[in-house]
């Protein structure tokens, strides 16, 4: 389906958009002027929206209180990497987040498939249960989880953290995958069953292979949740050398005092991987990201 959708011109007549009623008039004068008006509009909106982020970036490249240089500087990044364990934290964050993403999808995709295809009472009950159970705010879950995990030796440990992230992303992820699978006609599987595929075989070979947008949007969801969390990490992690980046940010907060230049430098470092991911996957989203996977078809 992606191919078909992608093949369409993107200038469909939609609300609030001045310009053409027909796609192929996009290059007419009016259309061209419309394009630049829209460009100006989006530029203005983006500029306003990004002011708080510019503040962050500006501070990250402003010399710190003990610095001798003036104007623009990259020394904050240098000092964050040389004087703290930032590179280790970055690595830990990447490990935890990527593991979360992979395991989360690996758990959610099969479960989502069952929720999509199995229409028994038990299955739809489970679908609702997934939702109910994850509604408890994380702040009340952290202490019991810590006690449970301490018994298993999984505290102050990236694996324990990953398991919790997988657990907390898994519910929504399962739902997202189920919604995506709903959009894949079951006739495909039926055909593969006739070809001799098992149920599992047709799931992996036919359904999953056609679900890249669904998988990617689920992955993005899990990525952001795990990447930005600090409420769980702050209770579960102790040792500086296994901090994740948000915990590293926390470590610059002393009693009534904060090392803001380091915080901002680390924050900018923290922003980069999600930006790279988004930029790299942008084209997949245009053919059905999270919403597309959930869109009614």
């Amino acid at each position: 389906m992606s191919a078909v959708v992608h093949a369409h011109p993107q200038s469909g007549p939609v609300l609030g958009v001045t310009g053409t009623g027909k796609p192929n008039r996009a290059l007419s004068d009016a259309g061209l002027r419309g394009r630049w008006w829209r460009f100006a509009l989006i530029l203005a909106i983006t500029a306003v929206v990004l002011v708080p982020i510019m503040v962050t970036v500006v501070l990250a490249v402003t010399p710190g209180p003990t610095s001798t240089s003036t104007g623009f500087t990259l020394e904050n990044f240098g000092s964050v990497f040389s004087q703290t364990l930032a590179s280790t934290w970055l690595q830990n964050s990447l490990i935890t987040t990527l593991s979360t993403v992979v395991v989360s999808v690996a758990v959610a995709a099969p479960a989502g498939y069952v929720l999509s295809r199995g229409r028994s009472k038990a299955v739809s009950g489970y679908s609702l249960l997934l939702f109910v159970m994850q509604s408890l705010p994380i702040i009340t879950s952290v202490v019991p989880l810590f006690i449970l995990f301490a018994g298993m030796g999984l505290v102050d440990n990236l694996m324990g953290l990953t398991i919790i992230y997988v657990g907390s992303t898994m519910t929504v992820a399962t739902w997202m995958m189920a919604a995506y699978f709903d959009s894949i006609p079951i006739s495909l599987e039926e055909a593969s069953w006739i070809d001799g595929c098992s149920v599992f075989g047709s799931f992996t070979k036919v359904v999953l292979r056609n679900s890249l947008p669904g998988v990617l949007s689920t992955a993005i969801f899990a990525f952001l949740l795990a990447w930005n969390d600090y409420l769980v990490a702050i209770v579960f992690l102790r040792s500086t050398e296994i901090f994740t980046l948000p915990m590293g940010v926390q470590s610059f907060f002393q009693q009534n005092q904060t090392d803001w230049t380091s915080v901002m430098a680390l924050a900018v470092i923290m922003m980069l991987p999600p930006i790279i991911v988004f930029a790299a996957l942008n084209k997949y989203f245009s053919v059905g990201g999270i919403g597309g996977s959930l869109a009614g078809r």
Binding site: A3, V4, V5, P9, Q10, P13, V14, L15, G16, V17, G34, F39, I45, L50, V55, A106, P110, G118, S120, L130, F131, V132, S135, P137, I139, T140, S141, I163, V166, T174, A179, D182, S183, P185, I186, S187, A191, V199, T204, K205, N210, N228, L231, V263, A267, M271, P274, F278, A279, N282, S286, V287, G289, I290, G291, G292, S293, L294, A295, G296
Partner: protein, 322 residues
């Protein structure tokens, strides 16, 4: 994951899926009949990891919280069983209802504010715009920045009378609004902050949903003389309804359960003008050390959230059946 290439199967899959882009959900008949015992067994194994995780990460803390909410203990000791006393006390307190009202308002503004903004931007970005992809990525940033950092940036922009935004108001002769110190303004500020954080998510959801809408329907509609608004309200919105409902549900959960956004920007103040139920639960458990009542608040909140989710969930089912 198997990687065997079944070109024929794949191309068949492609052909089969492609028309679905604008069609109705696949609703094969007799799905049940396919559930042989073999299938059931497979389904069981496919579901198992998720069940284990659900019980471990969500079930256990929920049960634990259930014990805490019906006892008078601390985080360390269970204490004595007090039945529903904590719930009764919480329901009788003004603070709870005030927080509940704020949570409701915060959620409504958060969900619809971010949805409208996300929808608007998604519609705009769907048209041909120079460097549209760049804007798409840039506009996702508010969602990506750690909240510890963005709340600080917002505080710098409007925390004191000399901050950038109050100064701008002053220079325009509009007085010096105290965005975080005035209870009403603080409530508005927190909601705007939440919308700022959340709109990229909505934008992404809506963009993707729009991308799946077959544009040929518009051509047909405009030939029939439908106005732009009619096209939008009668074609676009219904076509993305399912995605919209789901994004509303997710955002409702994100808003109701949101702790850092409020806590880091205002701490729930001034007085309790921005105290939501989660913030109240947090402060009751970890600052007043009233574990039972605090967890009871979280429970009551969860129950409400579930009810709302189920209602919206029904809507989705309806919208996908139609």
């Amino acid at each position: 994951m198997a990687l065997t290439t079944a070109q024929t199967g794949l191309s068949r899959a492609r052909r089969g899926v492609a028309p679905g882009g604008s069609g109705k959900p696949a609703k094969p008949a007799n799905r049940k009949s396919k559930l042989s015992s073999q299938t059931r067994k497979t389904f069981f194994w496919l579901l198992l990891p998720s069940v284990v995780l659900l019980v471990l990460i969500h079930g256990y803390p929920l049960a634990y919280a259930g014990v805490q909410a019906t006892h008078n203990g601390s985080l360390i000791d269970t204490g004595e069983f007090v039945g529903l006393e904590n719930f009764a006390n919480v329901l009788a307190s003004d603070a709870f209802w005030k927080a509940a009202r704020f949570t409701l308002l915060f959620t409504i503004v958060g969900v619809f504010g971010s949805w409208l903004m996300g929808l608007g931007l998604a519609l705009l970005l769907r048209t041909k715009i120079p460097a549209g992809g760049v804007f798409k990525v840039l506009l996702l940033l508010p969602w990506v920045v750690p909240i510890v950092v963005s709340s600080t940036a917002w505080n710098w922009l409007l925390g004191t009378p000399d901050s950038l935004i109050p100064s701008m108001f002053r220079n325009l002769g509009l007085g010096t609004p105290l965005f975080l110190a005035d209870p009403t303004l603080a409530a508005i500020t927190v909601m705007v902050f939440k919308v700022w954080i959340s709109f990229p998510f909505m934008m992404m959801m809506t963009s993707a949903a729009l991308a799946s809408v077959d544009t040929t329907v518009y051509e047909a509609a405009s030939m029939d003389g439908a106005s732009r608004w009619q096209q939008f309200s009668q074609i676009t919105l219904p076509l993305i309804a399912r995605s919209t409902y789901i994004s509303w549900i997710l955002m409702t959960i994100f808003c109701v359960n949101d702790f850092p956004t409020i806590y880091l920007l205002t701490g729930g103040g001034p007085v309790d003008a921005t105290t939501s139920l989660v913030v109240l639960a947090y402060r009751t458990v970890f600052q007043d050390f009233q574990t039972g009542p605090g967890v009871a608040i979280a429970f009551l909140m969860t129950i409400t959230l579930v009810v709302v989710s189920v209602i919206l969930y029904r809507q989705i089912r309806k919208s996908s059946v139609e």
